[in-house]
């Protein structure tokens, strides 16, 4: 990109002022919150305060036990996410390739997806126990459907002319999969990844609320049981930061795999 281009410079300046404004907003909220607590306008017992949360984080980190809980939650979310992804892609592929499977099973999939999985969480805990496995199953139950529907849609939305053209040119089955089916679905799957990572962590936390002996959800639940607003807030803040980092990482990966979609903007700028 041409940095000396005046419109580019203007855009850079705009980007900077935008992020300055955003950070300014966050900082002033935090300062207002803290001041509100200091001057008695906000009850720290219910709402905690930035200073208390900072202190709490310091204690958690110094003690090191927070990492153990965080790692557990991330492991539950990660394993569930991975399995859900694999199952979702496989099922999406099967449904797309076989019209028979699609015709017979698709109403069930829609019904299962319409069911509130969160209401099922207690049952899942009952079936799979209080440990690691039940959290993984809850995560899968959420991630699977997101990935499944996106993969399925990716297959169904392939331009039929591409397939016809490949047939006329006598492409082998493997070539069609490798050059058409795979790239067509990967972009859809990636589009669903960012949504499903958020869901995976929410689901893991949810499972921990219902019953667990570790994890960030367990920490928050424990704090809540002790009327410790600071503990709850710190747990939430921790999760927010982790999800934000993961999302930013995924955004990069996604951008790389779906470059051909984002490119629209580059042309428009050039014109």
């Amino acid at each position: 990109m041409d940095r000396t281009n005046p419109t580019e410079l203007k855009k850079d300046a705009f980007r900077w002022s935008l992020s300055a404004l955003r950070w300014g907003l966050v900082t002033s909220l935090v300062v207002l919150w803290e001041l509100g607590v200091r001057f008695g306008a906000i009850d720290a017992y219910y709402f905690s305060s930035p200073a208390r949360m900072a202190e709490n984080i310091f204690v958690w980190v110094e003690d090191g036990f927070v990492f153990k809980h965080l790692a557990l939650t991330l492991a539950e979310a990660g394993v569930g996410f991975g399995s859900g992804l694999l199952l979702g892609i496989t099922a999406g592929f099967l449904f797309a390739v076989s019209p028979k499977v699609d015709a017979v099973l698709s109403p069930f999939i829609v019904i299962m997806n319409a069911m509130p999985r969160i209401a099922f969480a207690p049952l899942i805990i009952l079936w799979f126990g209080f440990g690691f496995l039940s959290k993984v199953v809850i995560v899968i139950s959420l991630v699977f459907f997101i990935v499944f529907f996106n993969t399925y849609r990716g297959f169904k939305e392939i331009n039929p002319v591409l397939l016809k053209n490949a047939v006329v040119l006598r492409a082998t089955r493997w070539q069609v999969i490798r050059h058409i089916y795979l790239p067509a679905t990967v972009s859809w799957t990636f589009a669903s990844l960012r949504v499903s990572v958020g869901f995976a962590i929410i689901a893991a936390i949810l499972g921990e609320y219902m019953g667990a002996s570790g994890g960030v959800g367990y920490l928050i639940d424990n704090a809540q049981a002790n009327f410790d607003a600071t503990g709850v807030m710190t747990g939430l803040a921790l999760l927010t930061v982790v999800v934000a980092i993961l999302d930013a990482l995924l955004q990069r990966v996604e951008a790389r795999f779906t470059k051909w979609r984002l490119n629209y903007q580059i042309t428009e700028n050039r014109l």
Partner: protein
């Protein structure tokens, strides 16, 4: 796509009658009959660049790996897209995307190139530009081109032989050898009296149908 083209492209079978390939000696196509199509619809893979799309044709038709780069670039250049190799379809205009599709089809070195109303969706100017490209390439390749079009001027400008089909069910109404000399200069052709006589002749055939 016209059933006739589908049959030629081996995508449909005949109820009756025969198709002759290879100077009329064979009734069925074989592996030596390389067929490529320029489709009426968008036929580029949006996830591949202009070069990537041409390369796909080369891979599929078994061009040696070492020759792919050279052949692909050569054909993109031949359709006037030098320097656009790394552009994605979404970055190219409709006319340019058609050019890529043409390059991808020609790169397979087909015996038969089927063109199904290939430029119907283009604006008049882009259409003329790409037609000029086709006329130029026509002189350089030894490919039989079957071009289906509703544009009589296009049919007259781009053919050695014109076939008028009737409405459904399509029957051959007229076969007319094109007397216009080759190579053709489209800019000059559009002012040519003989050209316009031919266009009128075909128009009358077409409009008398029903």
């Amino acid at each position: 796509m016209l059933p006739l083209l589908n049959i030629l492209a081996r995508q449909d079978i005949l109820d009756t009658g025969t198709v002759s390939y290879g100077e009329g000696h064979r009734k069925t196509p074989n592996d030596c009959d390389r067929i490529a199509v320029v489709w009426q619809e968008e036929s580029l893979m949006p996830w591949k660049t202009a070069y990537g799309n041409v390369e796909f044709s080369l891979i599929v038709t078994g061009t040696a790996h070492n020759d792919q780069k050279e052949t692909g670039t050569k054909w993109l250049k031949a359709v006037g897209l030098e320097g656009f190799e790394d552009y994605y379809p979404s970055q190219l205009s409709q006319g340019m995307r058609k050019r890529v599709a043409l390059a991808a089809a020609l790169a397979t070195h087909p015996n038969v190139l089927l063109m199904d109303e290939p430029f119907g969706a283009l604006d008049v100017y882009s259409k003329l530009q790409i037609e000029k490209e086709v006329v130029r390439l026509w002189e350089q390749i030894d490919t039989t081109i079957v071009l289906v079009t509703h544009d009589v001027q296009e049919a007259v400008a781009l053919s050695d032989r014109m076939v008028v089909l009737t409405d459904r069910p399509a029957r051959v109404k007229l076969v007319r050898e094109n007397p216009l000399p080759r190579p053709r200069d489209l800019d000059a052709l559009y002012g040519n009296v003989e050209f316009h006589d031919l266009v009128r002749e075909l128009w009358i055939e077409l409009t008398q149908q029903s």
